[in-house]
Amino acid sequence: MATSEAAATPQAAPTVRRLSLLRVLGPMHVWALGVGIVLVGEFMGWNFTVAKGGVFGALVACWFAGILYSCVAMIDSEVSSTVASAGGQYAQMKHIVGPLAAFVMGLFLIFEYCMLASADAIVIGAIMAELNANFSPLPWVILSLLFLTWLNYRGVHLSLTFNFVITAIAFMTIIILLFGGEFWNPGKIFQTSELFAVQPDGVDPKAPYGWLGFLAALQFGIWYYLGIEGTCQTAEECRSVPRALPIGTMSGLITLLIAATITWFVGTSLVDWVTLGESAFPLYDAALNTGRQWLVVILFIGTFLSCLASANGCINDASRAWFAMGRDQFVPRFFGGVHPRYRTPYRAILFLVPITLGFGYTGLLDQVITFSIISGLLMYAIMPINMIRFRRLYPMGSIPRGYVHPFHPAPSIVLLLFCIGTFIAIYFGYWKNLIAAMAFYILVSVWFIFRRYKIVDRSKLYTMPWPRPKGY
């Protein structure tokens, strides 16, 4: 809570030398971060919705998750354009809900992004092994992670400009597959009517398991957009937060809605639903089915670049969250260090490298990915509470806002309802993982309350120059 005491806390005194993160990012970089993390979900993962709910179940999951993430993007754009701090949702929680919520939110972010980065790196190793069976995955996994770490270490502008280029190329490969398959000429390459038709054994690929299948598909529907909320992590490094964050996040979401719908159409029109539901690289398999070698090469490049972009964005976001927690002493203050030359949270970046690698080599990659998704979903479930409380504590006009989302509190309520629906879907398939994850977060919360929070310097927690919240 930003109290009057906190509001009165002086910012950097003129005589005190301070290091801060560089404000060098524009909307393009925010777009690159958000879309870069997510786009890998179009190249792999989304297709499990087809196995659960058939081709229409996959489309319902795609648009259902699209509504969920539209709410996330709107809420994030408003709060982040106001709380201009590294850590994104962590900082929002700290200022609006309280320290415990912030600590848990910080952990959600770190686990979500570290685990996603490790999965991306492992897929890069698998892609190299696919390219040539004599390639050993291990050096390529570590090389890709260290290269991206180096980029992030050298500067946020460099790493996100790189992300913009590779993300744009990866996105274009999806568009190229659509046009390369001559979508305007149905029946030639795209076999939509044939693949959607009821099979001789009576199975209808459109909805083989009925409405229950649609519900089950929801748990994988979030693959289409998982990670777009990471744009908030750049809040402290944007040249103009009120401009860059809303534009970057919203344009990123629009890009993903287009990409997800095209991906669904291309995938289901080129690969039969059973094969598609089990595929490790669905868009690559779709390119193989076109019979055009140049499309296969392009999709191979797209898959590789999307993994690289996702891992890069995840390293960026996880390090900012860890850095922000370090700065507030929620973890050792040491991790709040800023590189004096490159102005990056270099200690947080380096610390998370072995942890990310460790997650990847637990041998439980599917569990790691599931834990990452559950962490993300838990975060979305708290966001509506955050938003409603934000508007209540700081009504319109009380503090500057870069963006104000419309129809409040409808997006918050819709987000909460959709989260509950997705939790039910996850409970059907992964109830043990869900309960284990919740038990873990409850245990670390107890540790935080009874141990860590006692040594936190609370006078330095709130430095935003905000007025006293309404009701305090």
């Binding site: 301070r18 290091l19 709380v83 270490y153 103009s240 700065r327 270099y346 380096l350 104000v404």
Partner: protein, 83 residues
């Protein structure tokens, strides 16, 4: 074993060694050169105050602009100032 692939595997390991060494050496140089209090001196950012757009205020702004537009377009005011 494909020799080219084996060589590339070693190139990848060399890249790993180079990047790891670079990161460790640079971080060690920073730690030994700068005071820790300076390195951890960062504080939360401050929002710019210039932009505040709310859907409810947009219509009011548009009305204001519409009221101001004729006087700007006619150029009459400018002429008066010149006189």
């Amino acid at each position: 074993m494909d020799t080219a692939a084996e060589v590339l595997n070693w190139v990848a390991w060399a890249g790993v060694a180079f990047l790891a060494l670079y990161l460790i050496v640079d971080a060690a140089r920073v730690e030994s050169t700068y005071d820790n209090d300076l390195l951890v001196s960062s504080v939360e950012g401050e929002i710019e105050k210039e932009i505040l757009i709310h859907p409810e205020t947009i219509s009011a702004m548009e009305e204001e602009i519409a009221e101001e537009t004729p006087s700007v377009d006619t150029g009459a005011d400018n002429m008066k100032e010149v006189e």
